[in-house]
């Protein structure tokens, strides 16, 4: 579904991805963790070319993202992206937020899109907030609208960039719950997060990144019980005991 081959990325002089090779299978849930500045957000932002890569190959759903002639609009419609800061459209209600792209990009009739929007918003537990503006919603609710916005496009892949990092602790669970359900339904997901409970319980594999390198990738049982690299062990000991 997603394949990185020796992917390099620079921000000016800064070498942020140093030869990443990684394959994500359909219906796989991959959690990516690592210290801040390790390149994990950049990694998933490359997948829909929010960030272009400079070297290597990146193939997503059969499309060659690394080639500048590849038309991204169509591929982006197949990839839901959830941001740390939600990035909901503040001038639109929850329902308008989730139906805009289906109507404009997928060219679905408004009535049908709204029906689907209602269904998906109800699924993330916001059936009673359809006509609220983002400013009227809590952080957890906003992030669930953002997830619903992605889902309404019926994407093949969902990417999450630290979806719970901007939330108050009591709201983290309601967002993780939605993501758990999504994983159970067989969505292909890459989740950048420090929620190790989620990684343990839901993911198929956990990857650890540091200084732009993919240090270790393993199923969660193995990753947490027997981390191979010293850096992984150090990182885990820091975040699991904090």
């Amino acid at each position: 579904m997603i394949e990185f081959k020796e992917v390099h990325k620079w921000f000016g002089e800064l070498h942020v991805l140093k030869g990443i090779t990684l394959k994500v299978a359909p219906a796989e849930v991959l959690v990516v963790c690592g210290p801040s500045g390790s390149g994990k957000s950049t990694l998933i932002r490359c997948i829909n070319r929010l960030e272009p890569i400079q070297k290597g190959e990146l193939i997503v759903d059969g499309m060659r993202v690394h080639e500048s002639k590849t038309h991204m609009t169509k591929l982006r419609a197949e990839i839901g992206f959830v941001f740390q800061q939600f990035n909901l459209y503040p001038h639109m209600t929850a329902l308008q937020n989730v139906t805009l792209a289906p109507i404009k990009v997928r060219r679905i009739a408004r009535k049908q899109a709204e029906e689907e929007g209602r269904r998906v918003l109800a699924k993330v537990g916001l059936g009673d907030k359809l006509h609220q503006y983002p400013a009227q919603l809590s952080g957890g609710q906003q992030q669930r609208v953002a997830i619903a916005r992605g889902l309404c496009m019926k994407p093949k892949i969902m990417l999450f960039d630290e979806p719970t990092s901007a939330l108050d602790p009591e709201m983290i669970n309601e967002v993780l719950e939605v993501m758990r359900n999504l994983a159970r339904e067989g969505m292909t997901m890459i989740v950048v997060t420090h929620e190790m409970g989620f990684a343990r319980e839901v993911s198929h594999r956990v990857a650890f990144m540091d200084f732009g390198e993919l240090i270790e990738i393993a199923p969660p049982e193995e990753f947490f019980a027997r981390p191979r690299s010293e850096r992984t062990r150090l990182f885990l000991s820091k975040i699991l005991t904090h």
Partner: protein, 221 residues
């Protein structure tokens, strides 16, 4: 002092003032509309990806902002005909107001657009919206909320600038004051009446912004 202030003459000249008031309204209105269109286009070119268009828009904006409106107006009125381009006075006036105000509006709109957080663009890009769709549905509606007060300020400036059109003998509000002054020698009555009509326009525009801002309250996140 008030004994010498002649209200009767003002009433006598009221039909002229009303005609000229109407002229100021439609000349400014046309100029405002044109300026909004030109300003949006120039701004789009300025921040767009095409270097040549961006440079052209920049040159337009800079040259307008660095020269007096009166010079621009005289250039259109006296200069263009000498180059073989002829237009009516009204068209010349509207053209001058449009091009002049358009440059300022372009900068106001640019500031508004650039005040929209980059995350908004990223969210829209991620969901597959193309450039025009992002502008139309995400950026502009939010930018309008931010730019409405300064745009109104520019609209008020435009209305006041339209007084310069009296210099190309368009019968608008300031010209009405001049006519009354030259026929009856009553500059106090004449120009005060002109001023009152400008005040009326100002307050109408202000009320309009107030009303539209109340409808944009949701922007206060």
């Amino acid at each position: 002092m008030l004994e010498t202030f002649n209200f009767r003459v003002i009433l006598e000249y009221m039909p002229l003032f009303l005609r000229c008031f109407w002229a100021t309204l439609w000349l400014s209105g046309a100029g405002l509309l044109g300026a909004l269109v030109v300003g949006t286009l120039a701004c789009g070119m300025r921040i767009g990806r095409f270097t040549l268009l961006s440079w052209a828009a920049g040159a337009y904006i800079e040259s307008i902002r660095s020269t007096p409106l009166l010079v621009q107006l005289f250039f259109f009125y006296f200069g263009l005909p000498s180059l073989g381009i002829r237009m009516s006075e009204a068209a010349t006036g509207i053209l001058a107001l449009t091009l002049n105000s358009g440059a300022y509006m372009a900068e106001i709109i640019r500031a508004g657009i650039q005040s929209i957080p980059h995350g908004q663009v990223e969210a829209a890009v991620s969901s597959g919206l193309n450039y025009l769709q992002r502008m139309r549905h995400i950026i502009l509606p939010q930018a309008i909320g931010v730019t409405l007060p300064p745009l109104l300020g520019q609209a008020i400036v435009l209305v006041k600038d339209s007084a310069l059109l009296s210099l190309i003998s368009l019968p608008e509000l300031t010209r009405a004051g001049q006519i009354m002054t030259s026929e009856r020698f009553m500059p106090a009555e004449g120009f005060l009446t002109s001023a009152l009509f400008y005040l009326l326009i100002y307050y109408s525009l202000k009320a309009l912004t107030h009303w539209s801002q109340k409808r944009l309250i949701y922007m206060q996140t």
